[in-house]
Subunit: 204 residues, 4 copies
């Protein structure tokens, strides 16, 4: 299965997002109907396929997808999550081809413990998000939550570390991005692994 | 699969409850033969389909279901759990269309740590049970356990926070409800997620 | 599938034990090739089907079973584990129809923390092993490990609480029994749940 | 399925490694694209089949494998991980027929807590790696991480306890070996179980 997003139509994108969602749901990272995923279908104008709101993320079908514009407004399909606007903003800001938003216990727990950001260094796993394994300190930013996606987007833009394709939203969850749905998945798995490690409390 | 309960007959309800039970069992929330699920089939008179007692909750068939009345007594089918009476009471009290009772480690652990109730606020996940994500403090009540379902029902009625579709029974587990089996599932996943978060000990 | 053991032949018993083993292996309770399961096929003389030694417990076939006598010696089939002798002793001592031996992290961790035995009371989950949910204190015994099955059996016999169908072997794992493979499974799930609860450190 | 490696051709080896990888990935031990597995196909000259770099370890096909020599350089197939050189060195040094490298949270957490090595004794589970269950103290070595496989190999050679088929690489993960892919799997499961036990903090 290619995840070269530029060649996907909306239903193909829906199939990819449904499969990715089912995977994350099986990890317990999309409990209830939480979280949403997106993939960029065109750059100019910016168009993203975003998972439809209110569904069980382990039971999505290829049709449970909405086409949204650069403001996250629906172009076709059902009702997007309000958070679609943040997906579009992340895609525009970072050039990402896919965005993952999940609610993991570890991300919210670490956001509480380290509200100023989670400092990471000297971990081989950092290579999984493109950061050297030795001698480089990066910060996984923690930003305050908001229901206003413009405010949340401003905070993300101000806080992000360009070396890290992820941000923790305090009391909320995790935004992670990558070139493709598969790379975004791998980045998500890596960031969550790093958070689970920090949650053991064995760091300095 | 529609979970519009008003149109389900008893065997269809049994099939829905068997699928929901298998899901919760796969999470480890129904170890042994613990827990039980119900769905309201009629309001007047109140009739609920409740999972049969004593079975492995990962192996239920559509026939492993009992029709009970407003007191939890069997109208047809096999032997209901004594707890069927509490399911019926929750349905009558709250107007819920489905009730989930599971034994999770986190709910009993938190009931020990916070016997006066578990205070929650400023968490996006609260939206999954209909509570605002900001500035509202709700309490997930913890009530003392009893083998007398009238006593337990009285405690639940006295303690419940109308904004929270769930109660922790100390030393026992979790009761959660919703409009339909699917909504009750989502509420259960959300409440358990909140409990697992609090169990990390990272809160204030 | 009936688990009325008295009617099973050796291969049927092997099929039941393979299925039960695969279940426990999926929980991570039989890592490596650890643990073994048995079912009583006759009482007089005592004959048990025991899982064969050295196999991956997630990959057993119905043929991976050995018929042993009251001393745990092979009557037919392959090589039994040395621990088959303890299975036979538990079956003779308690009248159990099935014995489960698993290596769970929680049982070894709790055996370290509470070497004198794990005291349990006022937990609804205790009903899953036949103990009242209120006002009765039982002890899950912890016995010292040994490679001599006679010594280990003597310790088990001396330490066991007749109200609890389980014993923790320190630095080793858990022995649990029941009337049938299914009841032994449920007892195992219940005891492990209780140990995981105690491991949270929220008790008195 | 035989895992007698000497009779496997490269594609058969790829099929075995894909199945083993999918298993470890399902445990969460190969998040992102982390980790790699190998099996020795010939001793003289030393040739190993190693999983290809950059793939999702839950989605490997039999073709996602590279044949490497004693230096870890590709003889045929795609691009090997740089770590293939360490696999080859472990195989040459220990005589192992298969090597597993996984990134587990427990191994990195314990490497932080016990940078001088993890001392283990009096645990039945030690028998799963060939160490007596009583009275023998072994050390699971923790070595500093490096991107230079010669340096890392020197550290592994200097630090290893010949009684333990495993080494923790600090800030990185776990190397484990065995006679065959299946034995290496069992050794990995046993070592990870021991690490998860130590992570509970219940030891002396």
């Amino acid at each position: 299965m290619s995840t070269d997003v530029s060649t996907l139509d909306l239903e193909e994108a829906g199939a990819v997002l449904a499969a990715e969602s089912a995977r994350f749901a099986s990890f317990g990272w999309m409990r209830g109907t939480s979280g949403n995923l997106s993939v960029v279908l065109s750059r100019d104008p910016l168009r993203l396929a975003v998972t439809a709101s209110g569904h069980d993320k382990g039971e999505l079908t290829p049709a449970d997808v909405v086409l949204v514009d650069e403001r996250g407004d629906a172009v076709s399909g059902g009702r997007p999550s309000a958070e679609a606007a943040l997906h579009a903003r992340v895609a525009a800001l970072t050039g990402a081809g896919a965005v993952v938003h999940v609610h993991t216990v570890a991300s919210v727990a670490l956001g509480r413990r380290s509200p100023g950001g989670i400092v990471l260094s000297d971990l081989e796993m950092l290579k999984g998000v493109g950061v050297p394994a030795h001698g480089v300190e990066v910060t996984l930013p923690v930003i305050a939550n908001s229901q206003d996606m413009t405010v949340l987007g401003d905070r993300l833009e101000a806080a992000r570390d360009v070396r890290m394709p992820a941000v923790v939203v305090a009391g909320h969850g995790l935004y992670v991005w990558g070139d493709s749905p598969r790379q975004a998945r791998h980045h998500t798995e890596v960031v969550e692994w790093l958070l689970e490690l920090e949650l053991t409390g064995t760091g300095r």
